[in-house]
């Protein structure tokens, strides 16, 4: 008992390290419990040594894989196969998947392995138990793709696609869709190559017609393959992208828009920034009204406020006629600069400096204060320390000037960053610095005079 409670205490600290959990899906997980469940003797019956050694064997395989000792892993794997003959039905049924995962990993990296070995292994594993056929087929195809064997991969996928077994469970249906979609992706690849070829041909050339006909055939097949998957909730970026590209190529703008809108807005789909980016880019190509573009980016702003499209978003907002869009424009800029990765983005600083001045000139002091209130505790040390002043000045004088203006506007001319930059004597930038000083004096939020 006592060591159990010790485990309990210890487990608290180790919780997050361990991944395996006993009860998945209930929202609670007790990774440490698994060990105990394993050791608790069930019904007074001791666990058989067979179970004990095979699980030890699994442990050794995992360790060898972790250390990239492929030969050793293969050695243990040799013994682990006997779990397929386990008299425990549950373990026996779970075994093929585990063996497939471990075995394919070993064969992928093992120096003595080859595509042939992998193929044999995959074909064997596909036929142990029924539930794994599709999954293994798909992974087999991906392996072949990885080795550049597109045709074999395609053949494999076609094989898997036609496979049927009794009443498909719903999970199998998604797999079939996925397999078809990968097939579609392969077709897209050929199509894409053909398109490249076509672009080199002259339209009057006699070959042009047959080539374009060829392409058309391909796209038709592909669209059938891709459509089913795209309609099921999930993240299907590469599939969506290629599907839309083909639709657009053949002028089906409405179809493309529908797909992208659905992909971005359908609530059943998981939140996915790329969905909004694709839609935005599409609408931009289509020259959609500004209002529409703003509404798309607004969602992206909520998911990824540091995305590089945010500067574009800011420009759109700035150009808009609406007042609240102007306010949002300021918010977006502040938001971008909250992120450590964007601190040296000169465009962002330039926009902020300019827009801040403009806003203050436009008598929207409240907007600035609203943004600044939540940041005044940490931005000074995050952006405007004297260390940054020195290093920015050394690395990028233009950036330093923009930042100095912002610092001056927000913190007043007493601020270290501003003071350091304004003291610099630079031939080229003298005029600019002078302007900055003037703006700060005129517009700074902190007015010493008051």
């Amino acid at each position: 008992m006592s060591d159990f409670s010790e485990e309990l205490i210890r487990s608290k600290t180790e919780d997050d390290k361990e991944e395996s959990c006993v009860f998945s899906g209930t929202g609670m997980s007790f990774p440490w419990l698994q060990k105990h469940i394993g050791t608790v003797e069930t019904g007074g019956k001791k666990e058989k040594d067979f179970a004990q050694t095979t699980s030890a064997c699994l442990g050794f395989i995992q360790e060898a894989l972790l250390k990239h000792q492929w030969q050793q892993a293969a050695d243990y794997m040799h013994s682990y196969f006997q779990i397929l003959e386990d008299s425990d039905t549950h373990k026996r049924q779970a075994a093929p998947e585990i063996i497939w995962k471990l075995g394919s990993e070993i064969l992928f990296y093992h120096p003595k392995s080859s595509v042939e070995t992998f193929n044999t292994f995959a074909d064997r594993m596909k036929n142990i138990g029924v539930m794994n056929y599709l999954k293994i087929s798909l992974q087999h195809a991906l392996y072949l793709l990885h080795h550049g064997m597109l045709e074999d991969a395609n053949r494999n996928l076609s094989h898997a696609e036609t496979w049927r077994y009794g009443e498909k469970s719903s999970s199998q249906e998604v797999l079939i869709n996925l397999i078809q979609a990968y097939k579609g992706l392969l077709q897209y690849y050929t199509w894409s190559k053909k398109k490249m070829e076509l672009s080199t041909l002259d339209e009057d050339d006699y070959a042009y017609n047959t080539a374009s006909q060829n392409m058309f055939d391909h796209s038709w097949k592909t669209s059938v393959n891709l459509r089913a998957l795209i309609q099921t909730p999930g993240i299907w970026d590469p599939f969506v992208k290629s599907y839309v590209e083909m639709l657009e190529f053949y002028g089906d703008q409405d179809g493309a828009r529908e797909v992208l809108t659905n992909y971005a807005y359908d609530e059943k789909f998981p939140s996915n920034p790329n969905a909004h980016i694709y839609l935005y880019n599409f609408l931009k190509r289509e020259k959609a009204p500004r209002e529409k573009l703003i509404s798309v980016l607004k969602i992206l702003y909520q998911i990824v406020p540091s995305h590089k499209l945010m500067l574009e978003f800011h420009r759109l907002l700035r150009k808009s006629e609406k007042e609240d869009h102007h306010k949002l424009g300021l918010e977006v800029l502040f938001g971008v600069l909250d992120f450590a990765g964007c601190t040296k983005n000169i465009t962002a600083w330039k926009y902020l400096a300019k827009y801040l001045r403009q806003t203050l000139m436009g008598n929207h002091l409240a907007w600035v204060q609203e943004e600044w209130n939540s940041r005044k505790n940490w931005w000074p040390s995050f952006h405007f320390s004297s260390f940054w002043a020195k290093s920015d000045w050394k690395e990028d004088k233009a950036l330093a000037c923009e930042k100095a203006l912002v610092a001056g506007l927000l913190l007043g001319k007493g601020c270290r960053y501003f003071r350091f930059i304004s003291k610099q004597d630079d031939q080229v930038l003298r005029k600019k610095i002078k302007q900055i000083k003037k703006s700060v004096k005129k517009h700074s939020v902190v007015n010493p005079g008051l």
Binding site: S2, K46, K48, D49, F50, A51, T53, T54, A56, C57, G59, F60, W70, Q71, A74, D75, Y76, M77, H78, S79, F81, Q82, L84, E85, S87, Q93, I99, G103, I106, L107, H110, K112, S113, T117, T120, F121, R124, I128, G129, V130, M131, Y165, G166, E167, K168, S169
Partner: protein, 589 residues
């Protein structure tokens, strides 16, 4: 394959979720797509149907199966006899005298058959016409086959019990007095041996049924009778190392002895034997066989603690001089006396000594006497020995506990690692797969084939040099050589630093002692003490771990044995007035 009859079963298959059922010869449902056989049988579900059709199916199944699996008619006890024969042969190749097989084990087995009323008695439980089975030097297979005219009801005893006539085309619908569930059960039960089903169901009071672990108990009893130089822990280690047939021993049955169905539960085993279990079974069998007192174990026999202590001192690389002290302890506790050591099953409290565990426990006690093992004194003494050895390089070195610990720790860790790896790589499944019924057969064989082909594929990827070569059997697990610094041999080291002269005799410098168990458990739970590792000093833990690994026993059972020896040692000590040539002062605390 009665697809028609299987129509009313509409559940999804647990393996492939298909709903496509066929009916097996035993009346169970199987999935036609993946050949998964359910536990459900037709009778259970379809209670309204006329039983007639089922009788037909069952009968047909039986007939066909017998054709398919035609082998010799054999009994379960013959299977065990075959295994005992193999084990005895293996022991002979290990160097045990041939009398063990021809006389001792043979006699024990005959006695067992008689006591369990299987043979050599007036009314054996099986047959009227059948002769007793005899263990010959080389059991001729024709002997098993010599009874072709067995009563027909033995072809499937349980089936007969259920009350149906085995008429091939029994169209006459008979009322069924027995519940349908039980009928389906009997129909699905079968075995390759004649009495496999009956055997596994038999639960007679007072009869010790043969099992796989009991074959080893038989072996050990014969070894003990012969006073051979193999201890129980050695025997079990040889089993694990594969020198003695045990797991999958049925593989070596003659081709014509078919095993399946219930035989699987009887002969297939997926665990190694454990010391405590075999020890208990050995006593149980000896009592059941009503064996007389075993030959005396005297000072010159291998199982005497003095000799075993010497053996284990060598094994764990301790100085030979310690043997003097172990002999002292043996003498003082009286555990070396013939009456104490000799096994007497008829005695009121039949119990035998765990010779190997006891010898090792004596060594632990001596180590405690010398070094106290309180994580303090042993290191102080080591410092003294180290200094002395540095100054006197020419002399016989003093035993340095720290150095010994370092060498042993490293060796034992390596050994343990190798042992664990070898266990993880152990292949349990036999080349001849066992199946439950004829439906199972194809699936089981296919699975076996798959495993073999996968193994073949992966064996190419393994380093060409096999890492674990088969060790030749040895009662020693370590090999200490002089000169090699990693495996320094301490056998010749002296104990001068630890002992001091007192008049004529020597005493240990250390005058303290602590007891491994202060209070023995007096309740009926059967264990006398418990071992909670963390309550003890690290040195003690190390020593206990070391020895229990050598014997492949639980640490708690060694700890218990140590406590028991201390119990006797100190009781005597305090009971008598001290008068020993090399007496040592001890204080309890």
């Amino acid at each position: 394959m009665e697809l028609e009859e299987a129509k009313e079963f509409r559940e999804k298959c647990t393996q492939c979720a298909a709903v496509s059922w066929g009916l097996t010869d035993e009346g169970k449902y199987y999935c036609t797509s993946c050949h998964n056989v359910t536990e459900r049988s037709k009778e259970v579900i379809n209670t309204g149907a006329i039983p007639n059709a089922k009788i037909q199916a069952i009968n047909r199944g039986l007939k066909r199966k017998r054709k398919l699996e035609k082998g010799w008619d054999w009994y379960v006890c013959e299977g065990f006899q075959q295994i005992l024969y193999q084990q005895a042969e293996a022991l002979k190749t290990l160097g045990v005298g041939p009398e063990l097989k021809n006389e001792v084990l043979h006699n024990f087995w005959k006695r067992y058959l008689q006591k369990s009323k299987q043979a050599y008695c007036k009314n054996p439980i099986y047959t009227r016409g059948r002769k007793a089975t005899v263990l010959e030097d080389n059991p001729s297979h024709s002997d098993w086959d010599s009874e072709p005219d067995l009563p027909s009801d033995f072809s499937c005893p349980s089936f007969v019990e259920s009350g149906t006539d085995s008429q091939p085309n029994g169209h006459t619908p008979k009322p069924f007095p027995i519940s349908k569930a039980s009928q389906s059960e009997t129909a699905s039960i079968c075995s390759g041996s004649l009495d496999g089903v009956e055997y596994s169901l038999r639960k007679e009071k007072g009869i010790v049924k043969m099992t796989m672990p009991r074959t080893l108990a038989f072996c050990y009893l014969s070894l003990l009778w012969q006073r051979e130089t193999i201890t129980l822990s050695d025997l079990l280690r040889f089993v694990e190392e594969g020198h003695i047939p045990y797991i999958n021993a049925f593989q070596h049955f003659p081709e014509e002895m078919k095993l399946y169905g219930r035989d699987k539960g009887i002969f297939a085993i997926e665990s190694w034997p454990t010391y405590e279990d075999i020890y208990k079974k050995m006593i149980e069998i000896a009592k059941f066989l009503d064996l007389p007192r075993f030959p005396d174990i005297t000072e010159d026999s291998y199982l005497h603690p003095n000799i075993l202590c010497m053996k284990y001192l060598m094994e764990v690389n301790l100085p030979d001089e310690m043997n003097d002290l172990t002999c002292q302890v043996v003498k003082m506790t009286g555990i070396g006396e013939v009456d104490f050591l000799t096994f007497d099953p008829i005695a009121k409290m039949a119990k035998t000594v765990k010779y190997d565990v006891q010898a090792v426990a004596v060594i632990v006690v001596v180590l405690k006497l010398l070094f106290l093992l309180d994580d303090n004194l042993e290191w102080t003494l080591s410092n003294i020995a180290e200094k002395y050895n540095e100054k006197n390089k020419e002399d016989k070195p003093w035993f340095d506990f720290r150095k010994w610990y370092q060498v042993m720790k490293k060796s034992i860790d390596e050994k343990k690692q190798k042992w664990e790896e070898a266990r993880a790589k152990y292949l349990w499944k036999s080349e001849k797969p066992l199946y439950h019924s004829s439906i199972d057969r194809a699936v089981v064989y296919k699975r076996r084939e798959m495993v073999v082909s996968l193994q073949k594929q992966f064996s190419v990827l393994v380093d060409s040099a096999p890492t674990v070569e088969k060790k030749s059997p040895s009662s020693f697990q370590f090999n200490w050589t002089e000169g090699d610094s990693a495996r320094t041999c301490f056998h010749g080291h002296g104990l001068q630093g630890i002992l001091k002269k007192k008049g004529q005799s020597l005493t240990t410098k250390n005058s303290l002692y602590w007891l491994s168990t202060q209070k023995f458990c007096r309740s009926y739970c059967k264990h006398v003490t418990t071992y909670e590792e963390s309550n003890f000093s690290l040195s003690y833990q190390f020593i206990i771990n070391l020895f229990s690994f050598l014997l492949r026993i639980k640490t708690s059972s060694l700890h218990e044995e140590v406590s028991l020896i201390e119990k006797i040692l100190f009781k005597r000590k305090y009971g008598k007035t001290k008068k020993k040539s090399r007496s040592r002062k001890r204080r309890k605390y």
